[in-house]
């Protein structure tokens, strides 16, 4: 399907989240982590998933959140929502991989995670595995400019950026030079 789209437009996929339908099963986390394992499906670990279900059954809080952008520093001002009489924690709806919390980071390296809409699959797998339709997909066509390239590089950039924050740009450059020499 994607191939037939002409060059100036692109299918934009939106994952719609209906928190009233979520039952907290975390199947979405399971399949996401399996899909992104190397090789594909070779391991499982919800802590590596790019979707997280914020789940507090006793307060009836169920918020599936898809990982968005990486951010260097946490927000200075934050929001607290109350919806239908339920108060949600600060940051509950935020998609950022942010220093203030554990969400959306590789558990061992601490590198940020970002949802890539299951690149290469016909449909996002978390949507496919959510049989109760808390997650559904909506597609629309939109005109865009030459995004392809930048999308491909985006992952790399995010990773590098966070490494740079963690170790400093100089160190990263040092390592790159050394790696280059070895080859």
């Amino acid at each position: 399907m994607d191939n037939q789209v002409d060059q100036t437009s692109k299918i934009i996929k939106t994952i719609k989240i209906d928190i009233d339908k979520c039952n907290g099963c975390r199947a979405c986390e399971v399949i996401c982590s399996a899909f992104h394992a190397m090789p594909k499906y070779s391991s499982n670990n919800p802590a590596r998933s790019r979707i997280r279900v914020i789940r507090e059954p006793l307060r009836d809080v169920y918020v599936p959140v898809l990982a968005g952008e990486y951010t260097v520093s946490e927000c200075a001002g934050r929001d607290k929502y109350t919806i239908d009489g339920k108060q949600y924690e600060e940051c509950a709806f935020c998609r950022a991989s942010c220093p203030s919390r554990e969400e959306f980071k590789e558990p061992d390296s601490g590198l940020p995670l970002k949802c890539d809409m299951c690149e290469g699959e016909d449909e996002p797998l978390c949507v496919k595995w959510c049989l109760v339709d808390a997650l559904t997909i909506e597609e629309r066509q939109e005109k865009v400019e030459d995004l392809e390239q930048s999308l491909a590089l985006e992952d790399l950039e995010i990773g590098l950026e966070s490494l740079a924050d963690k170790f400093g740009m100089d160190k990263i450059m040092d390592v790159l030079v050394r790696m280059n020499e070895k080859e």
Binding site: N23, G24, C25, R26, A27, V30, I31, A34, A37, P39, K40, Y41, S42, S43, N44, N45, P46, A47, R48, E56, P57, L58, R59, D60, Y62, E102, P107, W129, C130, L131, V132
Partner: protein
């Protein structure tokens, strides 16, 4: 590298405070799979029959199933194994929810607790870091309350917590271990946890579980999801709604309780109320449920939503699934609002929802019949509901009469004497059963009740329709896409089964067919319990997505163990036999294998004996229900055979007839007095 499993058990000796991570032998996985299978092996090896439930040498094993933590839908069971204070036999109870996968992600297949801690502690397992922490501030706290407090205290909102309430702390013989929306309830394993001084076990894991053949495994998982969707769209026609679909019985969704309220017994499993279900009651109970229910919820990685979050005005929120919805209501002759309210308290206290209301109804029956008197119940309210609350508190605190009732109907009746045993009438192997009293003996259910060592019928039955469909064409239709049968002959058994006439119960299915059917039913439950699969998507419902034909592939692709149907059948038989061996060594014999005398009005003693004979033979057990030397050798359980010979349970020359070996019962009875001690 190990696949599907982590290859490590976490062993904690509570007496010495010693914590060890032990590498397991992959050969054991091949022979006993995991979960229940390997739990049984550990229990056989390390807990001899002299060890009592409340001895430091008793083990409390939390085993995550072999495939827990993989993407197999519904595979989330923790199999908790120990020696039961109530039955004095091996107890194994399964809990769903989220705990087992979390344990796997923390890097362990099992948690094995031994010894006893002097003061109340909780365990905090976070990947490689394991701590035994003081829990004195949690003493007397509710199970859910404890989980909430600990998650907050440790700042681990994603941790999973299994905890006991006051009932476990005070060693009530039917205390449960509670974990969010799930619990391991049967057999009093919460009492063993309390006896070991462990209030809660907090687990958080962020490590990988590996899959041997990733693409094949994923294809199998997707196949299961597809089949679940298919079954959602194709409920089984002609059976009641809770049996038509998949999942555990959908008690939180279904409002029509005509069948349960009019066919199950009220009070101390005594009274049938045939015209109970009226329009008014239906409306009232539906309102109660709809108002209380905030959301339908699932276990880890499962779409079935068998549980619910319940919030009743004025009470803390809790979670429930299945038939506890009605047990208190019916035990107390009350309504659903009462049932859901008292269940909230009972869940915090951590009590088995099957046994607890029956014990209370039993106590009131003894009072009614002057076996107990008003003096035994000082200050008890006059109304039924008030009395139930009163008894609940007395029992979990082991105060006054509650101290006796806390041992369950069997042992309480013995202590009370004066003919009280007649009122402890609904037990099998000393354990309270579902309140069902029926008319005509059903041979399939007879065998399941008699020989089941899981002690709870819902964990033994399944797959095969509970009754024939009235018309042959419907039965044939049912068989058309019945892919789950291990053998085509089961279809014929069902097609020829009639409601009336020659081919109806009790003599049809005949002995041979009945044995085949029960053997199949039991095997599927045992496989589930080793893999950690919820029975609700496998052994319990009709036409489930998991069955004997795809399970070997799951094991092979997931765990990387060569597997086919024959090998799997043998493995299941091996650890099923080992479970029996553990109980035989603890004194269980043929005479213990019987349903409550009044379970059916019409009994057929001769047929029943034949059924037992036939089943024992099929299983390779002798007349006493003891696995024969040949069977044991053939299954590679020669170490059991040797032990049986050494103990005189089997004799060298008469391994086929064990009639002489009825000594065992004495072992069980002898211990009665020693273990009835007061709670700590």
């Amino acid at each position: 590298m190990r696949f599907a499993e982590t290859g490590f058990n976490l062993e904690i000796d509570l007496t010495r405070g010693n914590i060890e991570k032990i590498a397991t032998n992959s050969r054991d996985t091949e022979l006993y799979l995991g979960g229940l299978g390997t739990n049984a092996k550990i229990l056989w090896d390390r807990v001899p029959p002299e060890v009592e439930a409340f001895s430091p040498e008793n083990l409390l094993i939390f085993g995550a199933g072999l495939l827990c933590g993989t993407p197999a839908t519904g595979c989330n069971r923790t199999i908790v194994t120990t020696i039961s204070p109530q039955t004095k036999l091996m107890a194994f109870s399964m809990m769903g929810g989220f705990w087992a996968p979390e344990l796997k992600y923390a890097g362990y297949d099992k948690l094995v607790l031994s010894g006893k801690s002097e003061k109340l502690v909780y365990l905090y397992i976070h990947n490689d870091s394991v701590e035994i922490c003081d829990a004195s501030h949690l003493k007397g706290k509710g199970s859910i309350e404890t989980a909430t407090l600990l998650k907050k205290e440790l700042n681990q909102p994603k941790a999973q917590v299994a905890a006991i309430g006051m009932a476990g702390e005070n060693r009530v013989y039917y205390a449960s271990i509670e974990q969010g929306r799930s619990s391991a309830s049967r057999g009093g394993i919460g009492a063993v946890m309390g006896d070991k001084g462990v209030k809660a076990i907090v687990v958080r894991g962020t490590m990988d579980i590996n899959i041997a053949k990733p693409l094949e495994y994923m294809e199998l998982c997707n196949g299961v999801l597809e089949y679940i969707k298919y079954r959602e769209d194709h409920p089984i026609p002609g059976v009641m709604p809770i049996l038509a679909g998949l999942g555990s019985p959908q008690e939180m969704k279904v409002h029509d309780e005509k069948w349960h309220t009019e066919n199950f017994m009220w009070g101390n499993s005594r009274t049938r109320r045939k015209d109970f279900w009226t329009k008014e009651i239906e409306k009232e109970w539906t309102d109660t449920m709809v108002n209380a229910r905030t959301r339908l919820i699932s276990c880890f990685n499962c779409p079935m939503e068998c549980g619910a979050t319940l919030s009743l005005p004025g009470l803390p929120t809790y979670m429930m699934k299945c038939f506890t919805k009605l047990t208190y209501t019916m035990g107390a002759f009350s309504d659903l609002d009462f049932g859901l309210r008292i269940a909230q308290k009972a869940t915090e206290y951590g009590l088995d929802g099957f046994s607890a209301p029956q014990v209370m109804a039993f106590a009131l029956e003894l009072l009614e019949n002057d076996i107990l008197t008003d003096d035994d119940f000082p200050d008890m309210p006059a109304d039924n509901e008030g009395r139930f609350y009163y008894l609940l508190d007395k029992i979990v605190r082991r105060e006054g009469i509650g101290d006796i009732l806390a041992d369950g109907t069997h042992w309480a009746a013995k202590k009370i004497g004066k003919g009280a045993s007649k009122y402890a009438h609904n037990n099998i192997k000393k354990h309270e059963q579902l309140p069902l009293k029926l008319s005509m003996l059903n041979p399939i259910y007879f065998l399941m009740y008699a020989t089941g060592e899981k002690m709870n019928i819902t964990q033994i039955e399944g797959q095969f329709p509970q009754a024939p469909f009235p018309k042959k064409e419907h039965r044939e239709k049912f068989c058309e896409d019945w892919i789950q049968v291990p053998h085509e002959k089961f279809k014929q058994y069902f097609i020829d089964w009639e409601l009336r006439g020659e081919n109806s119960i009790p003599f049809y299915p005949n002995v041979e067919m009945t044995c085949d059917i029960v053997d199949w039913q039991e095997m599927m439950h045992y496989i589930d319990d080793a893999l950690g699969q919820c029975a609700g998507l496998s052994s319990f419902p009709l036409k489930p997505p998991y069955h004997i034909h795809n399970y070997p592939k799951f094991i092979e692709a997931g765990a990387g163990i060569d597997m086919d149907e024959e090998k799997l059948t043998r493995a299941a038989k091996r650890y099923r036999t080992l479970v029996r061996a553990i109980n035989i060594r603890r004194g269980m014999r043929r005479k213990d294998e019987k349903p409550p005398a009044n379970h059916w009005k019409k009994r057929f003693p001769e047929l029943e004996e034949k059924l037992l004979d036939g089943y024992y033979k099929l299983k390779g057990w002798n007349d006493e229900g003891i696995p024969t030397k040949e069977t044991l050798d053939e299954l590679g359980l020669d170490f059991v055979g040797k032990d049986f010979l050494a103990r005189g349970i089997l004799k060298e020359d008469e391994s086929l007839s064990g009639k002489a070996c009825t000594k065992g019962q004495d072992i069980v009875e002898e211990k009665e007095n020693k273990s009835g001690g007061p709670g700590s």
